[in-house]
């Protein structure tokens, strides 16, 4: 048996092993894990039509495409100054703002590593 034939045989086995390994990873279906350092903190302020801050507004980012997320399903509310903060993996999100008495508001946000962290100023209109 010559060395070329051996190398071909070995490389074939190696390729099959890697493909099986990669396939098993995809089939596992468990979550990819964006490292904390890759996450982007989105901040903002929610105000009414007079510019006054609104407290207790529920703020929830929803992944806008297949490449964004995961987002923990925690209820984050604005504080007394209308401020909020959400840390998300890189991606595109629709930030949804809800509070009884106000119309639901959505704001699309691109969270891109290395770029300036997005800061939103959201105005809610009464129902």
């Amino acid at each position: 048996m010559n060395l070329t034939r051996f190398s071909s045989f070995f490389l074939s086995l190696l390729s099959i092993s890697m493909l099986v390994s990669a396939g098993c990873n995809n089939l596992s279906g468990d979550a990819p894990n964006p490292q904390p350092g890759q996450r982007i903190t989105v901040t903002g302020t929610v105000v009414d039509t007079d510019g006054h801050p609104i407290a207790q507004v529920l703020v929830m980012p929803e992944p806008a495409d297949d490449k964004s997320g995961p987002i923990p399903e925690i209820a984050v509310y604005t504080d007394a100054e209308g401020r909020f903060s959400w840390t998300v993996p890189p991606g595109t999100y629709d930030f949804v703002f809800r509070k009884p008495g106000y119309a639901l508001h959505k704001e699309r946000v691109q969270a891109i590593p290395g770029k300036q962290a997005p800061h939103l100023r959201v105005q809610l209109k009464p129902n």
Binding site: M1, F6, F9, F10, L13, L14, I16, S17, M18, V20, S21, C24, N25, S28, G29, D30, A31, P32, N33, P34, Q35, P36, R39, T41, L58, M60, E62, P63, A64, D65, D66, K67, S68, G69, P70, I71, P72, E73, I74, A75, V76, Y77, T87, R98, P100
Partner: protein, 314 residues
């Protein structure tokens, strides 16, 4: 010069070794890093050493799993009708955790078991849900107790069992110690997103508590229910929705129950399983993402099961 058979054996051996090296999730990698602690190693906000108590007196071992029995406390049990998900699609892609129409129904009597054993959690991290697993222990998502982005534990957590808006049938209890695992606390890996709260009082003697179980085989098709405290509904009200397990993965279970922010930590439970009673099989953590049309929760595996038993026994 190597003989033909020797060459074949060498090639096969090298391929096997390479398969091990290139596998990022296989047990073989774990075998080569035997000194690294398991991601399921429990940690506490107090930094205390946690003595493992993997099996308690209420634990029943089975051939392919185990369960720890629930207890209905002083309450009567009543299963309120939860709307099923027969109309929910199989597969496909989506981006919202309300999958199609919102099929959640409000729990109108939260003082009866098992709804009495589901708690609204209020902390400086945010609003969440949890479920009693013992007289003074609540299971929930890890991200409800520890924020890996800020690298900090919640500074407080107050739980309201069976809350219904302003009505608090069992009052409240404060968390005195928080637990999670290093896979979440050190790595922020959602596959290890689970934890528990030790309370300052034995409120579970009144509310009752859930059983929980694991099985090594697929859970696809298992009928389950999720009940919790979503933030898109009137504040502090409990909502539920029934579905079935759609996909089983190593660390996660996927389902089409409608959920929203605030329902993290909710029990994904069977209404009845053997002597387990009302029996949780997962802890809800995330809405739809990544091209799947299903929501998902951290699966109660053997390791998760043993940690829940351990935290319950502290």
């Amino acid at each position: 010069m190597l003989h033909k058979k020797q060459l074949f054996a060498l090639a096969a051996s090298l391929s096997f070794v390479c398969a091990i090296v290139f596998s990022s999730s296989g047990s073989a990698v774990y075998a080569t890093v035997t000194e690294a602690p398991s991601p399921h190693t429990p940690v506490s906000n107090k930094g205390a050493t946690i003595q493992p108590v993997p099996y308690g007196k209420d634990t029943v071992k089975q051939r392919f799993g185990a369960y720890t029995k629930g207890h209905k406390g002083t309450q009567e049990r009543r299963d309120l009708t939860a709307s099923p998900s027969e109309t929910k699609p199989d597969g496909g892609a989506g981006t919202e955790s309300i999958i199609g129409a919102d099929n959640r129904t409000r729990v109108t009597n939260t003082a009866v078991y098992p709804y009495s054993a589901i708690v609204h959690i209020v902390s400086d991290i945010g609003g969440c849900t949890g479920w009693m697993i013992g007289p003074d222990t609540v299971a929930t998502a890890g991200h409800c107790l520890y924020d890996p982005n800020e690298d900090k534990w919640a500074s407080f957590a107050t739980v309201y069992p069976g809350r219904d808006g302003d009505h608090l049938p069992y009052g409240s209890a404060d968390g005195v110690e928080f637990f999670s695992v290093i896979g979440w606390v050190h790595d922020g890996n959602t596959n290890y997103d689970y934890g528990a709260i030790k309370l300052d009082k034995r409120i579970g003697d009144s509310t009752g508590w859930f059983g929980y179980r694991y099985q090594s085989s697929s859970m696809n098709g298992t009928a389950e229910n999720i009940s919790g405290y979503p933030g898109d509904k009137p504040y502090g009200t409990q909502w539920q929705h029934a579905d079935r397990i759609r996909e089983t993965h190593k660390h996660k279970l996927l389902y089409a129950n409608d959920t929203y922010g605030g329902q993290s930590g909710s029990p994904v439970y069977q209404n009845s399983y053997a002597y387990c009673g009302v029996c949780s099989i997962a802890i809800h953590t995330n809405g739809v993402y990544g091209g799947s049309s299903y929501n998902r929760g951290t699966r109660i595996t053997k390791e998760v099961f043993e940690n829940l038993n351990t935290w319950k026994a502290q």
